[in-house]
Amino acid sequence: MSPSSARGNLFAVGLLALGVVLAFALGRFPVGPGDLLRILWAGVSGQPSGLPPQLETVIWNIRGPRVIAAMLCGAALAVAGTAFQGLFRNPLVSPDILGASSGAALGAVVGIYFSLGIVGIQLGAFIGGLIAVGAVCVVGSTIRRGDPVLALVLTGVVIGSLLGAGIGLVKYWADPYNQLPAMTFWLLGSLAGAAKPDLLPLLGPVALGSVVLIALRWRMNVMSLPEEEARALGLNTGPLRLTIVAAATLVTSASVAAAGIIGWVGLVVPHLARFLVGPDFGKLVPTSAILGGGYLLIIDTLARTIGPVETPLGILTAVIGTPFFIWLLASARGGWS
């Protein structure tokens, strides 16, 4: 590891640590780093912490699960975004380019429309995302002309807008007093509902997808080359592309199921990580994961604390992401370093 990438990783880890400290220290029940450590130690050792039980409840049942969910979703979306930017050879790509988010959103609003309850809605979102990307892959692979990557992206755009129409239709049918606000809240993204029982079903697919993507990171360099070059270098591009798409879809759908649509993280974080450690995916993917966890955690802390009521995550990520991206576009020279 070169000294500059070591410094970059140090920064990413520092941001994550800062995010954790802030997430506990801010809010209606502030927990300082000392108290946090004491309660965590009490949890590990089984000794009483000597702090009010109220505070322990906040950490173990409310703040803690939310912090973990934010870190997991942030890391997973960032890794998925990094993988997709390489796979589609385009730094403006985000993990929902193949319709994972739109599919998951449609699944969720259908769940809300039929009043399925939280488990039903989450399941609807997860399955909706998988079905949408599956459909894009099947339709895209029947297009035999030209570059298979381009065919996939264009199919994703087209099917994504069809799903958008579907979402609009369900919202149009929905009860405007009861269901519509719930749908809107879901589409803007929030971790407010992240509670302990949610974590396990989220953890499975997110961990599985992330592990696959992180394990494949050394091959992503080659996957970012033109199709025929990658094959000439010895990669079986077809199955590998499918694996990366499946893993990224798994984590995107699961995070939408847990927290609604959180845009921008998968688009912005890979660029920040590229600033820190350079474009080599072998280094970039782990740094993206750490940075994504810290980034979403800080945004979620902001969402909880800047107003009298929670601000939807999608609003904050867009407000922060847009100026950042405009600056990025204006300052990028030649290749994306």
């Binding site: 394990a215 080659v222 025929e228 000439a232 270098l233 010895g234 590998l240 474009p279 080599d280």
Partner: protein
């Protein structure tokens, strides 16, 4: 030991591009595919590399059918140098050359110490070690071409196939790249390159195959085959011949 095509037909499912191609690329030999610019030559190279299935005919690598090899077996035997392009991401030159080691590692494996050493050796072999940490997107076209040759060599192949290696290069860089091609053959590799310049074929190739509109016009020893009459047939223009005192020959296009 050779990469051989017998009565090969190639192209895309909806369109045949060439047929009746017979050639053999032998170890230690430079073979030039000479012909006017067009889509035919690159497509033939992709077929020889196993990237496109042949439409008919036989294609063997060291007496074994090419289609029977896995993607990574092919990559360890055949190095490919495409026409240089800038690429999307600003990978360092070293990272680009290291990608040549892909077929030598397992799917999930990080590059090994040996892989890094091989990449460094190839950079040194091509005289571009000082470029190692530069972004590939910010070096010149000639340098990129040398980097791609280093990447192909990092595959440790027995044959290297280059697509128009000098097409976008200035005069000086053309010389550098062509000198490397001669050196590779001297070290025992079979080298195949495409070109539209008969002088390059004459000077740097042992054998030449002339190809036009997907058909083989002629094939043989470079010095015997490259005559004004043949070149006139190939390019459809008059050819002037220039000779120096030592008997060396160069061709100039006429009308």
């Amino acid at each position: 030991m050779s990469l051989s095509a017998v009565d090969l037909a190639y192209g895309y499912p909806e369109r045949q591009i060439g047929r009746a191609i017979t050639l053999a690329l032998r170890a230690g030999e430079v073979l030039a595919l000479l012909g006017p610019n067009g889509r035919g030559k690159t497509t033939l190279l992709k077929t020889l590399l196993g990237l496109l299935p042949p439409q008919a005919g036989g294609l063997t690598l060291d007496e074994k059918p090419l289609a029977g090899l896995t993607v990574s077996e092919r990559a360890r035997a055949l190095g490919y140098v495409p026409q240089a392009h800038a690429g999307t991401f600003a990978f360092s030159v070293f990272t680009v050359v290291l990608m040549g080691r892909t077929a030598h590692g397992a799917l999930f494996a990080a590059p090994s110490r040996h892989d890094r050493e091989v990449a460094m050796v190839m950079l040194e072999r091509l005289g571009i070690l000082e470029l190692a940490e530069r972004p590939y997107t910010q070096i010149s076209g000639g340098e990129r071409q040398l980097v791609l040759i280093a990447r192909a060599l990092a595959q440790e192949p027995r044959y290297v196939i280059l697509d128009e290696p000098t097409a976008s290069l200035d005069f000086g860089n053309q010389g550098k790249v062509m000198a490397q091609i001669g050196r590779l053959a001297a070290e025992g590799l079979g080298v195949l390159f495409t070109t539209h310049d008969p002088n390059q074929a004459l000077r740097h190739a042992d054998r030449v195959m002339m190809i036009r509109e997907g058909r083989m016009l002629a094939s043989g020893i470079a010095k015997d085959l490259l005559t004004p009459a043949r070149l006139m047939e190939l390019y459809g223009v008059g050819i002037e011949t220039v000779r120096d005192g030592e008997g060396r020959v160069a061709f100039l296009p006429g009308e």
